[in-house]
């Protein structure tokens, strides 16, 4: 056992990938290690002919994954869009692992990312010693992916500045990376492609220019459709995080998770779960990941300050904090929700009172 906290996907799921490769008879696009159909199977789960169980990497609509894989097969770049906590990076990592066996060619885009981190940098010692030459170039993950004909992942594409983003236009449309200093260019090998992820809810990010946007096929990953699915994801993650933080999970945690998810889903979806009443939605995105954070916060409060059981009091203030992101607008939305919906529900009366108090 290695001491690495988490191995990349292609290592963790080595066995599954091998099994799929063994049974795969479909035609593979150039330099792909699996056929598109096998990639979809790897993502959505199933059983191979040899009886190897393939775990589901993505729980949701098959259509979306099919579109994503088909996009990569057409040599078009893929942009995975979605609110935080919708498994964008996870999908991107597994796609890269399944298609070219390498998920680690990754550029984390931030406001501080500059062109050198996208295109190439210079090894100044070499540069001084030998002058501009190919040896003096320091390749980036994108550079390497182009050379090897593999996939490069760009995380949080919209976080880096627009001028830097636009560096990608030539790469995506002409599949080459000019090196004007050497009067040369890097030409992408067949099999090269880009998977980018971006958040479509955040404010203050750098919108993609339409020139760049046009070069991507966009797949929007939605929040879970089904309340049970979401509850089970949260139960699982809360338990995992709880054990990592050494927080015991009280008996009633599942019930409370269900209530929190109900509140989240109703506000996010803009209608009550029974569909009888439409509601306003707050400005925050209320993703599954935030529900997890609310629960973990509540757990910690219950553990250190409470009496072991999880109460509405522990969760209430976290919940208000998660929902009210804009002090004026969201407060009005929440007030309306409390008065028109929660007030009438007996099971939620504690939440109603606590949240009213916090407001």
């Amino acid at each position: 056992m290695s001491n690495i906290v988490r191995q990349p996907a292609e290592v963790i799921y080595q066995a599954e990938l091998d099994a799929l490769k063994a049974e795969d008879t479909g035609t593979k696009p150039f330099n792909w290690s699996l056929s598109p159909k096998a990639v979809v199977k790897y993502m959505m789960g199933g059983v191979t002919a040899d009886g190897v169980e393939i775990s589901a990497k993505y729980i949701g609509k098959r259509r979306l994954i099919e579109t994503a894989v088909a996009t990569l097969a057409t040599d078009r770049a893929l942009l995975l869009l979605g609110v935080p906590g919708t498994a964008k990076s996870w999908v991107s990592e597994h796609l890269a692992a399944a298609i070219c066996g390498v998920s680690t060619q990754i550029i984390q885009c931030t406001a501080g990312t500059d062109e050198n981190q996208i295109r190439y940098g210079w090894n100044y010692a070499q540069l001084l010693a030998k002058g501009p030459s190919k040896e003096a170039l320091v390749p980036t993950p994108l550079y390497r992916a182009m050379e090897n004909g593999t996939l490069c992942r760009l995380e949080e594409l919209t976080r880096m500045g627009s001028d830097v983003q636009d560096t990608l236009i030539t790469v995506l449309s002409e599949n080459m990376l000019p090196v004007p200093e050497l009067n040369d260019a890097i030409y992408a090998q067949r099999g090269f492609n880009v998977i980018a992820t971006a958040n479509n809810r955040d404010k203050g990010v750098n919108e993609l220019s339409s020139a760049l946007k046009r070069r991507f096929n966009v797949v929007v990953l939605p929040l879970p459709d089904d309340i049970n699915e979401e509850v089970s994801i949260i139960v699982k993650r809360v338990a995992e995080m709880g054990s990592k933080l050494e927080l015991p999970l009280p008996q009633n945690a599942n019930e409370e998770i269900e209530k929190v998810v109900t509140i989240f889903r109703e506000l996010r979806g803009g209608e009550t779960l029974d569909g009888k009443m439409t509601l306003k939605s707050p400005t925050g995105n209320l993703s599954t990941a935030e529900a997890i954070a609310v629960m973990v916060g509540g757990l910690s409060q219950a553990n250190w300050f409470g009496e072991g059981a999880l109460t509405a009091e522990d969760i209430g203030s976290n919940l208000v904090g998660a929902i009210v992101k804009d002090p004026v607008q969201d407060k009005a939305v929440l007030e309306e929700y409390l008065e028109t919906v929660l007030k009438k529900r007996k099971a939620y009366s504690e939440y109603y009172h606590i949240m009213n108090e916090v407001l």
Binding site: P36, K37, V40, R63, E66, T67, V69, A70, T71, A73, T74, R76, L79, L81, S210, K213, R214, N217, V218, V219, V220, G270, E271, K276, M277, T278, L279, K280, V328, A332, E335, E336, E339, T340
Partner: protein, 791 residues
Amino acid sequence: MSQADVHYFGIRHHGPGSSKRLVAELEALQPSVVLIEGPSDCSELLPLLAHHQMKPPVALLAYAAENSAVSLYYPFAEYSPEYQACVWAIQNNADVAFIDLPVSVQLAQMLQSAESQSSEEDAHESESMTDALDSESAIESESQNAQVSSFSDRTEAVSSTQHDIRHDPIGALAQLAGYEDGEGWWNDLIEQNRDDNAQIFETVNSAMAALRDHLADRDELSEQDLVREAHMRIEINKCAKAAIGNVAVVCGAWHAPALKAQHTLKSDREQLKQLPKKLTKQKIKSTWIPWTTPRLATRSGYGAGVLAPMWYQHLWSEQNNHQFLELWFANISVLLREQGHVVSTASVIEAVRLSQSLAIIRNRPAPGFEEVREAAIACLCFGEVLQWQQIESALLLGHGVGVIPDDAPMMPLLEDLQQQQKRLKLKPEALEKELSIDLRSEAGLAKSILLHRLNVLGVPWGKIADTGSSRGTFRERWVIRWQPEYSVQLVENLVYGTTIEQAANDKLSEALSVEKRLKILAETVQMSLEAHLNKAADTGLKQLSDRAAQTSDALELIESLAPLVNVQRYGTARSMSLGHIHDLVRRLAIQSSLAIPYACRNLNDEEAWHYREAIAKAHQALILAELDDSVMDEWWRALKQTLDNPQSALLVSGLIARILYRAEKISEAQLTMLLQRSFSPAVAVGDSARFFEGFFTDAIDQLLFDPVLRKAVEAWLINIEESAFIEFLPLFRRVFSALDAHERKRMIDAVMSGRSNVTTQVQLNKEMLEHWPRQLSRIGLLLQRDKTWTQ
């Protein structure tokens, strides 16, 4: 047994793929008789289909003469195999006829079930009957059934899977294979195999036979189907005996195996015996009516409808065009551009490529409906499903309307009107006439309903003479006048339904479902109630509650309260159950309460005036609405909060102060303090005046009775500087003009008597009295502007 060769073609209703094969096959077979699944007593209408003025989509309509709500529709699109077969037959001089159960029998069945309300044998019917409260809505539910009518029968309760299979067995098979759209499956599995045409119908036939066997084992075949098939067999036999040459039978794929099977004539006759006696010819009307493309879609409630009529139309009209996929994408991009989205040609190219590689991943020979949709979303809509949904209905449902020849038989709507006119003794006259209606009498109510409904349909035969004041009373005054063009206007509504009630319901529902303004919605709901259009009212209420949640405009919320409370009271007075209207009023009241304190801050005069009006009306309504205390507490709390907030618009605060004072929510002392504060010298005169205006508009008579108010106002008015007073004079005049001469006199008396009671602190200086006349004359001069006077 039969002399002629009978060939059976099991088709998919409204399937362009089927149509194409069918026409090719008819061409090859050259039958002398073409028999089509459709009501046998409507055969004489078939030749009209090939009329040069006839443009599909059209529908064959049959209804009972005595009750046109009991009706059946058989829609035909250009790509319907039945339509194509019929046109082929007429153009090739072949005989063409319908062979299914005659409408006379089907309508008799429907009438029967409409009459026997508690019939046990018909689970579905009895269910809707028990829901129905009176006979009118029983017909209503019947008419809804009629809407869903289709080639397959619709009167029996069937489990949903079986229902689907019988309506569209090919679609059901496609769904099992993971297709959303039956046509895609047909294309991929049947068309692409490129078998010869006869072979294809054979394949479909055996698939259906297997399906039917399976259902037969589980005893799930519908009784009605068996009866219809027996009838069709008899008809086919009859035709086959008389015919020379080939006979082609065009029927739903589902029925094909049953029609082919050997049954004795006797057993078939036996089957038919259970049918009710058919209606006589005079009791049935049938005709062609124009249909619309959206109504061919399943989602419009048409059971045998298709997923996307325009896609099918495209499949049919571009069937020989190898660029048909590109053309469809071009359609999509045109629509997106119309919506203001930028769609470049390069993106369209990418979309076409993506759809092709998606098809490969899914193991399909060519991109179908779903691949196209997903590719369009990913490449043309930047992944936003919302953008796709914006164009979806225009793209997939279209808005085509069929045309029927001028010489088609009489229109049902006009007939319905004539019947009602006769029944109500209300003659259409070209001269204006006044009509006073007592709504308490049955005949009066019926007249009023008819006139209201016609108004909804854009036929203003009657205009209500006194609006407003008559509401809620039991008398209506109308001015009626018929004009010839009204007939034409009425017929235009045929797409909405065959009876005036149904058409008005559907038309209003459609308008309601796109309306966004709460106030208009609430008013339209009231209109539908006056016209007794329950379906429209339900739609309106639903839309209202949806919109109420989404609107963030406080003014809209407040404004919607008054009409809605009116609706509620209208319903209560006539003991109608109006669903959730009570909850809705409650909810809107709470929402308004939450919104008012925020909304009334920092407004300019004009906005503030709107809010003032809206709040005044809403308050009036809420007082009458008999809401429970918790809601009213919320309302009072909101009002108080607004009043206490110095940022609130003063026009509104003034009104609220009055409301609260009158409801004794604030005491006399509090009010005095409030007035003194608002009218204190430090407050700008303009602000005081706004408060004054807000307080006293429409309520100036309060000054007559309330010394507290009078004193405060008087003190303020006396202290206003002259220039300011003149500036606000128009306002004072406006406010005080609500008083009539008599009241004004009383007001002056009240003010003066107040004065006389005032005891002054100043002592009279007796010594100066003798100088007084002299001073007086000096003042007199001064008043005449005589400057010569000096001290």
